[in-house]
């Protein structure tokens, strides 16, 4: 399985993906301070508010997930390169599992890096332009690291929401991206609809997990060329 996951990376247009990641990381790491300065200073009052803001901003990585799903699944169907994989002595379920694992590892790791860069950038920029009005403690750092792992896991799961229906079944890039935009923004809008934010995240993660399950389970039927 390790080898199959690695081969997924070899097949991709690596330079363009790396460029995409640089853009994502650069934007996301500057957003918290920009948001506090330009939209609401309330988020700079204590660590919990700031970390909620950072977690919400990192959900932007769901969009990178949609891009990866498009390149790993949809493009392979459109260019018919998926037929090459089907001709190898590997079952479709295993091939799809390798693709899903690759996307999951990729999104999880990039989101971890993004959390780290955002934390460091926010701290360093605050030294130059003081916007945050509290001091960071040791327990804040521990909370940040544990929250970062949970947050990355959540982003990874939510990223898979469009996989089954829009990517594998419909093979539609635009719909995949739109679905990702809606999914990543829903938790931000849950207070407007008086909906519990945490419950919303649990529901989205469950849909993502279900989408992965159905994609692998039905690989032989829905995944037909």
């Amino acid at each position: 399985m390790n080898k199959l996951v690695k081969l997924e990376w070899i097949k991709l247009k690596q330079k363009s993906i790396l460029g995409e990641i640089v853009i994502y990381l650069s934007i996301l790491m500057l957003l918290p301070l920009f948001f506090i300065k330009m939209v609401s200073a309330d988020f700079g009052q204590n660590f919990d508010s700031l970390f909620e803001l950072i977690k919400s901003i990192q959900r932007g990585m769901v969009l990178l997930g949609a891009s990866m799903i498009s390149q790993v699944f949809i493009e392979e169907y459109k260019n018919k390169t998926i037929t090459l994989s089907f001709g190898y002595p590997i079952s479709r379920k295993k091939l799809f599992l390798a693709k899903v694992l690759f996307i999951a590892l990729f999104i999880f790791m990039v989101t971890i890096v993004s959390f780290l860069l955002t934390g460091v950038a926010t701290y360093l920029l605050n030294q130059v332009l003081p916007i945050i009005h509290f001091s960071i403690t040791g327990s804040n750092i521990v909370s940040y690291f544990s929250g970062m792992i949970v947050g990355s896991f959540i982003v990874t799961l939510i990223s898979f929401i469009p996989l089954f229906f829009f990517a594998i079944w419909k093979r539609a890039t635009v719909s995949t991206v739109i679905c990702a935009i809606i999914a990543m923004n829903l938790p931000n809008f849950s207070p407007i609809f008086h909906f519990n934010n945490e419950l919303m995240i649990v529901i989205l993660c469950s849909i993502g997990a279900l989408s992965v399950y159905l994609s692998i389970k039905t690989a032989d039927r829905i995944g037909e060329i």
């Binding site: 081969l7 097949k11 260019n79 090459l84 001709g87 190898y88 032989d220 060329i225």
Partner: protein
Amino acid sequence: MNNAIRTKGLTKKANGRELVSNINLHIIKGEIYGFLGQNGSGKTTIMKMLTGLMIPTCGEIELLGNLLTEKTKSVLKRVGSVIEYPIFFDHLTAIENVKLHCDYLGFYDDKAISEALDLVHLKGVEKKQVKNFSLGMKQRLGIARAIITKPELIVLDEPTNGLDPVGIKDVRDLILMLNKDYGITFLLSSHILGEMEQIVDRIGVINNGKLINEVSLADIRKQRTDYIELVTTDVEKTVYLLESELQISNMKIIQDKKIRIYDWTQSLNTISKMLVLHDIEIEGIQKHISSLEDYFYKQINGGRHSE
């Protein structure tokens, strides 16, 4: 008999329509077998199922003595293929594409890669991105990829598509060489019947998703009835002269002016010279050699050549 491919009741349905139905195929190890059929007859669909690209709706596939199903695909390690047209990751170079293929098959032999590229005359362009390749180059790279691991069975769908006459001859020679020197079994399909006639040992005629007949080229040749067709104004005198002057007796009068000579003891030239000497007006004379093409048309529409 030792089969390289055996199918039993192979059927594929899509959108409520049967694309191929109840195919019982027998391809013997070491032979070159060709599919003949019109566009849309189901040749490619059968090939896709035989190479794991499509899952059959029902029926069995046995490759090299092993059952092929989604759960038992390991036999595909011993099969090479190019179906429809050669597909590559266009942004990768030729060598990267070939190495990727080898990685999937767990085959690591740089010498074999180099030899395969050499065989299809692609040495020197292996570091070029495939998006810059012509269709002919892609076709040759596809064949190189299919033969690299020296599989026991190779399935090639229209392997000469996009090739110039020299390329076509190269591919034909390559197939014959791999079959003769390495004993590789081939399943081919082509629209160029003349091409098929020069390579294949046996053919399977596919029409409307059904396998109509499997026959060897040797049998077709045995059945064929070659003749000289002569059109003249004086049939009676011509027949008399052919019998008396050239001792030709095996002939038949067709319509009023046509004579078919089935006796090949005299050449076309000798016959026409003799008739001219006896002042017989010849309106037409030509050799007619029945071919695979005739056989094919007889099988699919009772001998009428379709446009």
